[in-house]
């Protein structure tokens, strides 16, 4: 039985006076993919960003309730955001490789952490790029600029960059919405390969993507979690009418 690795209880988030998250109770077991779906402005991305404290930098944000990673309060006064983001990595909507070589992109986190052992770095680069299913395409160009790659390849290099620091949880915020269907499908395959070893939480507007890859799907609406269940149940027979209306395109 997998342990609950990440828990959020009564999580509220306010942008100034506006309540964007209205008390989210949602827990994640180790391993597997959870998709967060819902119309624009429903709070799913905001929620995702609270999980590795990406909202800290936004002025006027207030967060109440608890978010715990392996029992540790992510918002405790002594919590170290660098450590948190090493354990809980994030991949964004737009592929955002740094203007360095592919190699330097992947080892960026390790280099900042002071790792200098060339052999170790080489091994991490190969392992991470293999895990991100992009190794075969880039192995002969590791020292060329990552910006020269296609969008889909860039996104997989970004996934490799997250994997290089050995996180436990990978957050993805609409990682394929800027990509064509072939690149999207490569990212999906990559995620399916990673789901055995990592806890993956993905925000997506592509409902078919959620139904294809997610073990579990959570539906958000107006800052609330309406329903979370096995993906099959959500798409075949959801418990809430709001969920049904949304996924069958009656609104949203």
């Amino acid at each position: 039985m997998a342990e609950e690795i990440l828990t959020t209880q009564d999580l509220h988030l306010y942008y100034g006076n506006k309540e964007a998250l209205k008390g989210i109770n949602l827990n994640f077991k180790e391993k597997g993919i959870t998709a967060l779906i819902g119309p624009s402005g429903c709070g799913k991305s905001t929620y995702l960003r609270t999980l590795n404290r990406m909202n800290d930098l936004i002025p006027g944000v207030t967060i109440t309730g608890t978010a715990r990673f392996k029992g540790k309060d992510l918002y405790a006064p002594d919590a170290d955001t660098v450590e948190i983001r090493k354990e809980i990595g994030m991949v964004f909507q737009q592929p955002n490789p740094f203007p360095f070589s592919i190699y330097d992109n992947v080892i960026y986190g390790l280099r900042i952490a002071g790792e200098k052992d060339k052999e170790k770095l080489d091994a991490v680069v190969e392992k991470s790029l293999r895990q991100a299913a992009v190794w075969d395409e880039v192995k002969d160009h590791l020292h060329e600029s990552a910006l020269a790659l296609s969008g889909g390849q860039q996104q997989r290099v970004c996934i490799a960059r997250v994997l290089a620091v050995s996180p436990e949880i990978i957050l993805l915020d609409e990682p394929t919405s800027a990509l064509d269907p072939v690149s999207s499908s490569q990212i999906e395959t990559t995620l399916l390969n990673l789901r055995q070893d990592y806890t993956i939480i993905i925000v997506t507007h592509n409902l078919q993507q959620a139904s294809r890859i997610a073990d579990r799907t959570a539906f958000f609406m107006n800052g609330e979690l309406v329903e979370v269940d096995a993906t099959k149940n959500i798409f075949m027979n959801p418990a809430q009418k709001q969920t049904e209306d949304y996924i069958s395109g009656r609104f949203g």
């Binding site: 078919q208 139904s211 075949m236 959801p238 996924i247 069958s248 395109g249 009656r250 609104f251």
Partner: protein, 223 residues
């Protein structure tokens, strides 16, 4: 919000119901033709069987198209799947009406056996009523009615056994009755099969309503 999908689904639904009414009529006619030994009507039923098959194919094509183009989920998906599955059941029920028409022609002017005539008359009435009721249940998405129709199917099975017993009895009394008996047996069997297909449609109505796939006639005696 009204979707384009809803309009297409309404059309599909109307076509399906129309096919159901056609099958229902054909079954009614085949039963009447048998009871009255009306070979001309029986022949017309045989000649027009392809109408039902063509409608089935048209509806199947339309459902495939809607699945591919709209990728329906939840209730939408269940409505489409229900039609896709039920349309085959209706078509097969129609095939059995055609079999009854063949039996009518084969029967010619052979002597009627009153007890069997009476049993088959009742079975015919029950079956045609069942087909009409299942269409009503489909249109009203009435899973209670669908559930209730399974009982009628069990009664049909029971009467089929009675037809068999009486036919064997008649054969013992009159060895020349063998061909006639086999025709009575076939018609009773065809009516039973129609009842089974109607029960399948009932199962799809329950699925449509609840999302659960149920087996209604598992208790019915297999023949």
């Amino acid at each position: 919000m009204r979707r384009l999908f809803d309009d297409e689904l309404a059309d599909l639904d109307a076509d399906f119901t129309e096919m159901g009414m056609l099958v229902s009529e054909v079954i009614q006619q085949s039963v009447d033709a048998f009871m009255q030994r009306d070979a001309a009507t029986a022949q017309r039923i045989i000649d027009h069987d392809h109408d039902i098959n063509e409608r089935e194919i048209k509806l199947e094509k339309k459902t495939f198209e809607m699945i591919a183009l709209y990728q329906p989920v939840t209730t939408d998906l269940r409505e489409i799947v229900t039609i896709l599955k039920a349309v085959s059941d209706l078509e097969r029920a129609g095939d059995h009406a055609r079999n009854i028409a063949h039996s009518t022609i084969k029967m010619g002017s052979k002597q009627k056996v009153p007890v069997l005539e009476q049993l088959l008359g009742q079975m015919g009435q029950m079956t045609t009523q069942m087909v009409q009721d299942v269409l009503k249940a489909y249109v009203n998405k009435d899973d209670q009615e669908a559930q209730a129709l399974a009982d009628v199917d069990r009664k049909l099975d029971h009467m089929n056994h009675q037809v068999r017993e009486h036919s064997y009895e008649q054969m013992r009394l009159d060895s020349d009755f063998e061909t006639g008996a086999s025709i009575y047996l076939n018609v009773a069997q065809d009516l039973c099969r129609i009842g089974d297909y109607v029960t399948n449609v009932c199962e799809w109505i329950i699925y449509l309503k609840s999302g659960h796939i149920v087996e209604l006639n598992s208790a019915s005696e297999a023949d």
